[in-house]
Amino acid sequence: MNKNWLMVIVAAAFEIGWVIGLAHAYDFWTWFGTVIGIIISNYLLIKASGVLPAGTVYSVFVGIGTAGTVIIEILFFNEPFKISKILLIATLLYGVIGLKMVTDEEEKQGGNT
């Protein structure tokens, strides 16, 4: 797990935060936190795209953001648990891990990114 992939994952974690913030913020400090979350997640996205292909970065960002939001909604916001959700999160992780492996291979070959 290198630094750039970690940045994409942290960016997605902040995205989960600000998406929840947009839906649930109610006073100055919760809105302030939401805006900071948007800035940090976009900053990390831009940084990671400097090294990894932007299309790859954005897909992983969206994928992890979506999976995380679904998990948080099940755990904290009383959304129903469904087997289909867990299966889709599993295929999503399979895709993310595959993407990381393909990107690493290309970097080793001197890549055409």
């Binding site: 795209s49 292909p53 299309g55 954005y58 969206v62 289909s84 959700k85 393909v102 890549g111």
Partner: protein, 105 residues
Amino acid sequence: MAWFILIIAGGFEAFSVAMLNQIQISRHKWIPITLFSLAFGTSLVLLSISMQSISMGTAYAIWTGIGVVGGTLIGMFLYGESKNVKRIFYISIVLASAIGLKLVS
């Protein structure tokens, strides 16, 4: 009309992904950074307008789909990103899973 707005929202999202590439190669970085922020902001506003008549899961799924596919295609054809079949396969898996999650939630 809502569908048209939704497609335009997806277009703005794809454009902001393209700006992620442009930021890296631009000498005056503030220009693509500003365009990135404006395009993404506009995209979110249009998305929320379309959600007034299209259900949230469906709207989000289509919006993400256009943004990821559009952004990746622009990256491959304009910014020299890898056209590796395995890469396209795994991006499709991630995208299909994310869309599926939005539709079953």
